[in-house]
């Protein structure tokens, strides 16, 4: 349970790990240990994305369930630089 900046940093780290594993698995589709790593970090990422959306705003439309206001549209833009 960190603050917004720390959580975004953590999501960035896990997301980057998944990007690397995806490209590796694209050319090594039978590497079981890499697939285990992928599944492990994917579970962590989904948990963090869900928690971030509940506490702050949704980072993807999958987590954009809103009732009072359209939080997806009101979220900060990535190029603003304050907290990406």
């Amino acid at each position: 349970m960190g603050n917004k900046e720390q959580m975004l940093k953590d999501i960035g780290i896990v997301d980057f790990t998944l990007t690397e594993l995806t490209l590796y698995l694209d050319t090594h589709p039978h590497d079981r240990s890499a697939m285990e790593y992928f599944n492990h970090y994917n579970r962590i990422k989904n948990q963090l994305m869900k928690e971030f959306a509940q506490r702050f705003y949704p980072l993807t439309l999958d987590y954009a369930d809103s009732n009072k206001e359209w939080r997806w549209g009101m979220a900060p833009l990535p190029w603003e630089g304050a907290c990406n």
């Binding site: 999501i11 490209l23 980072l59 630089g81």
Partner: protein, 191 residues
């Protein structure tokens, strides 16, 4: 189809504007070896790629290049916001400013507009993959050149990240070009 993630792949948080640097770095937005050309090259080459694994590599790297395009756009945007008119005139940014104000438009550092002639879709697996490997090296060289011109660590860090990704992509395209990946049992023959 695609899903958007409302964050950058690597943080960009530049405190000091610098219009001189922005005019150089914009080349990796819309220049000959920039991220827009990279993404369009890979995503367009997919349709004639007969091997499913290789088309998968093109999809995932082409997608990551869009994230890099967004990062370069963020760098140019943050380097050009809050500039005084005096700074705009002194830095030579006035020639860009007159046409685009401080919007981010795809062009090379020399002012040449983005052009699809910077990349090729040949419809031949070997030709396209060799072009892709060369493209990653050309982008890496451009980032090396940019790093020689940049002193601000806020700009260096994301540029260093982007440079490293060129090397990883070169490696993956090289693997895609190998017999054991691109000639596997899952290949489709749909020429």
């Amino acid at each position: 189809m695609w899903n958007y993630v409302k964050k950058l792949q690597f943080p960009v948080n530049i405190k000091e504007p610098n219009a001189n640097l922005a005019q150089v770095i914009i080349s990796q937005f819309g220049g000959p070896d920039g991220e827009l050309a990279a993404s369009m090259r890979y995503l367009s080459q997919r349709y004639s790629m007969p091997y499913r694994e290789v088309a998968g590599v093109l999809t995932d790297i082409g997608t990551e290049e869009l994230a890099h395009l967004e990062m370069v756009g963020a760098i140019v945007h943050q380097l050009t916001r809050n500039l005084s008119m005096e700074e705009i005139e002194k830095s030579g940014f006035d020639k860009y400013y007159v046409d685009h104000t401080i919007g981010v438009w795809p062009q090379a550092a020399g002012g040449i507009p983005f052009n699809a002639c910077e990349f090729q879709v040949k419809g031949d697996i070997i030709t396209d993959l060799m072009e892709d490997m060369a493209a990653e090296q050309k982008a890496r060289s451009t980032y090396d050149n940019i790093l020689r011109l940049v002193k601000d660590p806020d700009v260096c860090e994301p540029i260093k990240f982007l440079r490293e990704r060129e090397i990883v992509h070169f490696q993956r395209f090289g693997e895609a070009n190998r017999e054991d990946c691109s000639k596997s049992e899952h290949a489709q023959y749909n020429h």
